[in-house]
Amino acid sequence: MRPILMKGHERPLTFLKYNRDGDLLFSCAKDHTPTVWFADNGERLGTYRGHNGAVWTCDVSRDSMRLITGSADQTVKLWNVQKGTQLYTFNFGSPARSVEFAIGDKLAVITTDPFMELTSAIHVKRIAGDSTEQTEESVLVIKGPQGRINRAVWGPLNRTIISAGEDAVIRIWDSETGKLLKESDKESGHKKTITSLTKAADGSHFLSGSLDKSAKLWDTRTLTLIKTYSTERPVNAVAMSPLLDHVVLGGGQDASAVTTTDHRAGKFEAKFYDKILQEEIGGVKGHFGPINALAFNPDGKSFSSGGEDGYVRLHHFDPDYFNIKI
């Protein structure tokens, strides 16, 4: 089907997230206003005003009642999804890069960038059921990895935290003690900054995308490397179909290195790969800049991509897509 072009952001997109029911799509961009859209027709439903910097990331609770956003204004905010009101603001001394609710939505993991003399850190916060009882303090703070931590997510049963970032190493931490449990192998692991990381619907495996022009599939529990998908472009965003054995890689030439001659030159395509055979299936073109964010609808029947060009493109799959054989 013709993609739906969602124009609402004024700056490059940074992150996309569907709620569990798949009827809402939350988008973050370098403008300061996260936006919520109807995931079906791309109509804009509302915005969340209050941040004072680029918004890097967001997550939505399982019941779609609460939104958490992390921003370069050094805050992480909790919002009422329906009313668009701020419930709480966590303050940090440096920009927040990634946030994720734990299973049960009672905890959240937040990563902050290295800034001034602060090193990067992973924070675990308790999220109160009633936001009036919300407190600032962290349950756990993990420091150690060099450079920015681009993504941190919860492992199975909230027992571990998986982090990845500029040092190209994927680490698994104990979420109780903050102890480092596992580290990805230098040989088989990524060679450059890991830009994105997304978990499978059941959390059993996850996919990481890197500027080394590859994406890798790992087992969440053992950190075993299962698959590698090679592409021709630095990977900025990855997504996995919850329905079929497909993975999608998005990226493109660095915005500063893009030529002006031909938009094909940048390869701003979302590339589909067979998850098992690691072979390329096809590509979805359209963006006029690198793809920064990708997300699959939980029903697997549509996906959306957000680009450096400031647009969100919502794609509903044609019936042919479900019969692709390679």
């Binding site: 734990a102 049963l157 059993s204 021709e232 054995d245 030439q253």
Partner: protein
Amino acid sequence: MAAEVMLMNEIEAKAASMGIDLNIDFNSIQLPRGEDCGIVSDDEDVYHDDHLEFDSGFGNVIVVDNLPVVPREKFEKLEGVIRKIYSQIGVIKEDGLWMPVDPETKKTLGYCFIEYNTPQEAELAKEKTNGYKLDRAHIFAVNMFDDFDKYMRVPDEWAPPEIKPYTPGENLQKWLTDEKARDQFVIRAGTDTEVLWNDARQSKTELVYKRTYWTESFVQWSPLGTYLATVHRQGAAVWGGANTFNRLMRYAHPQVKLIDFSPGEKFLVTYSSHEPSNPRDANRVVINIFDVRTGKVMRDFKGSADEFTIGGAGGVAGVSWPVFRWGGGKEDKYFAKLGKNMVSVYETETFSLIDKKSLKVENVVDFSWSPTDLILALFVPELGGGNQPARVSLVQIPSKVELRQKNLFSVSDCKMYWQSNGEYLAVKADRYTKTKKSTYTGFELFRIKERDIPIEVLELDNKNDKIIAFAWEPKGHRFAVIHGDNPRPDISFYSMKSSHNLGRVSKLTTLKGKQANALFWSPGGRFIVLAGLKGFNGQLEFFNVDELETMATAEHFMATDIEWDPTGRYVATAVTSVHEMENGFNIWSFHGKLLYRILKDHFFQFLWRPRPPPFLSAEKEEEILKYLKKYSKKYDAEDQDVSMLLSEQDREKRRMLKEEWEKWISEWRRASEEEKLERQKLRNGEASDEEEEYEAKEVEVEEILDFSEEVLFEE
């Protein structure tokens, strides 16, 4: 080499076991001056010359002998004279002129030392003033200071040279006997240089030899494919061997920039250009001609860059390379250089000018050899505002007899294209229109092999079309021309034969509006790739000229280079690092089917290994052609086997992958099942797994719809 490789492996293993990161930036390491830490360089003897200069620090000192012996009164006068002579050549260092005096007689000793700023100046001074006549009695003898050491060390007694036992060399052409008749190519990407087999049947490459930092600037095959030349700061080297690549010979030439083989690969020409100490001077150019096998310098040419830049468009550093063009086919008998108002033709027996004289041609600006015969084609442009017409003449070497001459009127520029067998010469002439406001292009076609060399004039249907590209069919009688104005020019094919008259050129066809700007004929003729490089983003059209039909159109996005393999079976298209993106190469079949694609960052070079001409006689070749069906049967069968095997392997691989994946899935299911209860607890008891969402729950609902009382029994 094998030993070194082993060593490196051991080091890596050791480092790994000790947990040391071996990824070191080698450029950041500098050994202390004059200290090699006992590491013996691979290129030790090439380095040697340099070391002498730096270690002793006297590389820029010359010794001038045979000076007049003068008393004290005349000392300053003599010093003044010497300073005057030698400061013309370069900058003499402060206190750099020292003329020793005999302490007893207070007279000079008849020699002096001069220290220049650079060794280059010193060398130049030695060359220029050795033998300089100050007066009849005093002829300078100039030597490099460092050379004294060398001369002192010459033993007084003659020792017979050691005769080394004969060891048979390796078969340097073994790659030609490959069972699968594959071809090799070399690629350079990043710091790695690799020689690979093109295994087109299996759609992949097979590594022959790989080496990191093999060359410091580029690599080049010799014209017959025997050697691979690498270029380093200290000189060039050639590599070859039966199964691997060993260094066969080195050619010392500091700061060598360009190299060129003679067509029969007997000689190697190396070129370097050096900054002058005086910025007003032109660069100094050094050209050496080496014998490839012995490594001996057969002749060297030194001079200012101006002497080597006459005519030609000017390639690297202002010199149109190759400076020396080789003639006479594979015999390597003659080579020639363009000079001012002359062409200097040298012969390789003595490495001197033929008849000790250059060929005088007033105002000659370009020349080219016939690829097969000893014929030079010379071009002299129009002079005197059109009073003296431009001229193309064919001159036989070594007799210097003019075979044919053609005057061309109102010509602004001219280019010469030889057909590969030397049968035809096409001269593309750009002419002014009568008003001189614009130019149009025509061709003069010479039939070299026919009596009296007839010339025919060819003009395009539309005379005003610009010529974008021209190419002869190798070994054939046809040529292709891209003409017209961008963005969609036309392509025309012509034949030197026409159906009823053998002696006339005829047009075969014109293809209209093609996205092409370059022509690549198959080395076997018949097929051609019409390519749109650069602005056309890598459009490719594979065209069959026999049938005049397009076999395939394709695109290799952003392609910068195209090269046919020497047999004309495959085409390689490459994107080299002129762009940052898409770097790598594609291999296509001759009819335009993409066989495989390999991506490499920082991709610099792709070169097919050339093949020597076939060793078979013409009759034998004809016989093979005649019974081609019989021969090809065997290969067809092999092809089939390979493709069966491949699809079998592919199926097997897929099955394995699927199986492996299933294992993971079941593992994950099990784990998920185990954790199910705990997960529910985390979610306040809410069932989390998707299947439970849709689980049918039986709910009994009772609702009272109506209430009535009836009396059933009446008593």
